[in-house]
Symmetry: C2
């Protein structure tokens, strides 16, 4: 099946978690908006198609199904792309971990938009500074300690008993945090040896390495979820 991915052009955003899964297994897919423009998403968002209604991008068209929400798309794709171990218990655990990744991604977004997504960053800079401080000091350690424990309880190298979409998403999370909070992540380096090793192994997977070196990988930038605003991550 040829999958159709719909996501805003111009930033990695939440769409990137889906792209990494599709790229890792060299799935047949089209990144529709990057081919035809963001307007290609509008009929779906306005409810012009039958079936499921997306609230927002990313969404995936898989045959006649339309699936939105990053974690839900991956719950669907996982078994179909061979990116989750077999069995109910592994599938459910993968979904739980992906939902937790969605939570920290939400919090990352709110470091630069703590008041409203429809105001500019510059209009909420003071609250952004405060929220980012709490995020750096409390939330990054809490989430990364958690994911480090998840790896330790697995086989030490992967979240589940074998490679999965969760590992790909953890790679993206670490990459994004490295981009947005380089000083904090440098200080945390020794506390997350398993996550670091995982991120390196993922970056070296042939299909992922090829993808990251290709123009299909949009560079991190200040239109995405992970943004580098130096005042939100001071050197100390």
């Amino acid at each position: 099946m040829r999958y159709e991915l719909y996501y805003w052009t111009g930033a990695q955003g939440r769409g990137e978690f889906i792209r990494l899964a599709l790229e890792d297994v060299a799935a047949d897919y089209i990144d529709v908006a990057r081919k035809r423009g963001d307007n290609a998403m509008m009929p779906f968002l306005r409810g012009k198609q039958a079936g499921a209604l997306p609230f927002a991008p990313p969404f995936l068209k898989a045959g006649r199904m339309v699936i939105a929400q990053t974690a839900t798309i991956l719950a669907y794709l996982g078994p179909r792309l061979g990116l989750v171990p077999g069995g109910l218990s592994a599938e459910i655990y993968a979904q739980q971990l992906q939902a937790t990744i969605a939570d920290i991604v939400f919090e990352v977004h709110d470091t630069h938009h703590p008041i409203s997504a429809s105001l500019y960053y510059e209009q909420q800079r003071s609250a952004a500074r405060k929220r980012s401080q709490a995020f750096r000091e409390e939330r990054i350690p809490k989430y990364l300690d958690y994911f480090e424990s998840v790896l330790a309880r697995g086989n030490g190298r992967q979240a589940l008993s074998r490679h999965s979409y969760v590992d790909l998403s953890l790679f993206q999370l670490i990459s994004g945090l490295d981009y947005a909070f380089p000083n904090t992540m440098r200080r945390m380096q020794r506390q997350i040896p398993r996550l670091r090793a995982l991120a390196e192994r993922i970056a070296e997977r042939p299909n992922i390495a090829a993808y990251l070196a290709s123009p299909r990988r949009i560079p991190f930038n200040e239109d995405g979820i992970f943004r580098r605003y130096p005042e939100l991550d001071p050197v100390r």
Copy 2:
């Protein structure tokens, strides 16, 4: 099977979405912390049990499985409690809708805690006022218009082709918004006829009505997700 639900005592919180599903079908379950205290959750959160590691409550013990994240717990329970229509496409749509409910619940929490969950409300009141204004004016209408459209595309009365855990969660969402943002919700009354009718029907389901009248239903309060702080919802 006797399910064990683990959630903080003292507030409805995210645990309430699970309780409503279990209560609606009169499932056999124990609300563990309310029986044995919040400490009963600690061994799980500290990783003392085998298998899946929860990041935070709520989590559910189902036989040997431990499942965390509200939307994941409901994805698991849905088919087992008969609370989702059969078939992949309905299950996936239910998961997507529940993930979207999780998103607005996250945003509701951040109206009173826009800077940090570990500071008191009083320490972030000024940012809370600003975030709440954006939430009332932009986000409530956007989400509720969306769910109203979801109902319109279903059979007009339910999110899916028949009663599901998504309907129970929409009831909880509307109830919580009515509690926390009564003035805003009164002004929106006419824009959400289907959601209103759905919420009324759910409240009248015999098992739900009995639950809501029982001491098992913790009243809304200012320790939960939905909090009534009058300055966050002015009369205008």
